[in-house]
Symmetry: C2
Subunit: 112 residues, 2 copies
DNA sequence: CGGGATCCGTCTTGATACTG
DNA sequence: CAGTATCAAGACGGATCCCG
């Protein structure tokens, strides 16, 4: 993900979320996960370098903030900013769509 | 985009749309574009091999149908299936989010 | 000419090992 | 624990080629 190719708002969104991992990290943040280790423990098994890259990217774009742990200097907390939380408005419809698709897959009368 | 890593509905959606091009093709289809050449003419300038790959992928997943042109044997029409049209439910919120972001970028009082 | 397929150099992804 | 380094594999992107 580098510079941008048009000023379409969809292109802007795909700049930030058009990959297979970023939205999974945001999902985890909505679920209350806050630490590097917690993201790694999700069933999708994101690689550490990919996770580090995506977190950095999200922080750079003010979707996530990175807070030091006062009690353990080695650790950090990641939290959604209000901008990050605003992604809920399309994340929920997207999840709803995925749910409907897996339901269809189990009862495939007529689709297409 | 290969096999899948969990049965999270979000993962299922990212399987299909978790890249920088697929949703742009779907956007064009919603806008009434139907032919290979028309997709190429969009301002994002997708490469022909990428476009061919994405269209094939969309057809395989029953989001798009590929219809021959009766009058010109060389040409095809691509159209959204009803399943493809159902993506509207998250595509519109995603575009709306992108619009809000570009508005913020022009009037960045307090975000973050 | 329209709709791709193929080739090839480059950039990105991802698994694993390693470090502070 | 929270990353970085390394390196192979794959995706991207442009150019060219092919086929009806």
């Amino acid at each position: 993900m580098k510079f941008r190719r048009s000023d379409c708002p969809l292109v802007l969104a795909l700049d930030l979320f058009g990959d297979r991992w970023t939205l999974l990290v945001i999902r985890d943040l909505f679920r209350g996960k806050q630490r590097f280790d917690e993201f790694l423990s999700s069933p999708e098994c994101i690689a550490t370098n990919i996770l580090a890259d995506r977190l950095k990217h999200l922080v750079e774009h003010a979707l996530v903030k990175r807070l030091p742990d006062k009690e353990d200097k080695r650790r950090f907390f990641y939290q959604l900013t209000s901008r990050g939380q605003s992604t809920r408005q399309f994340l929920l419809p997207l999840i709803r769509w995925g749910l409907a698709q897996s339901a269809l897959r189990r009862a495939p009368e007529r689709n297409g």
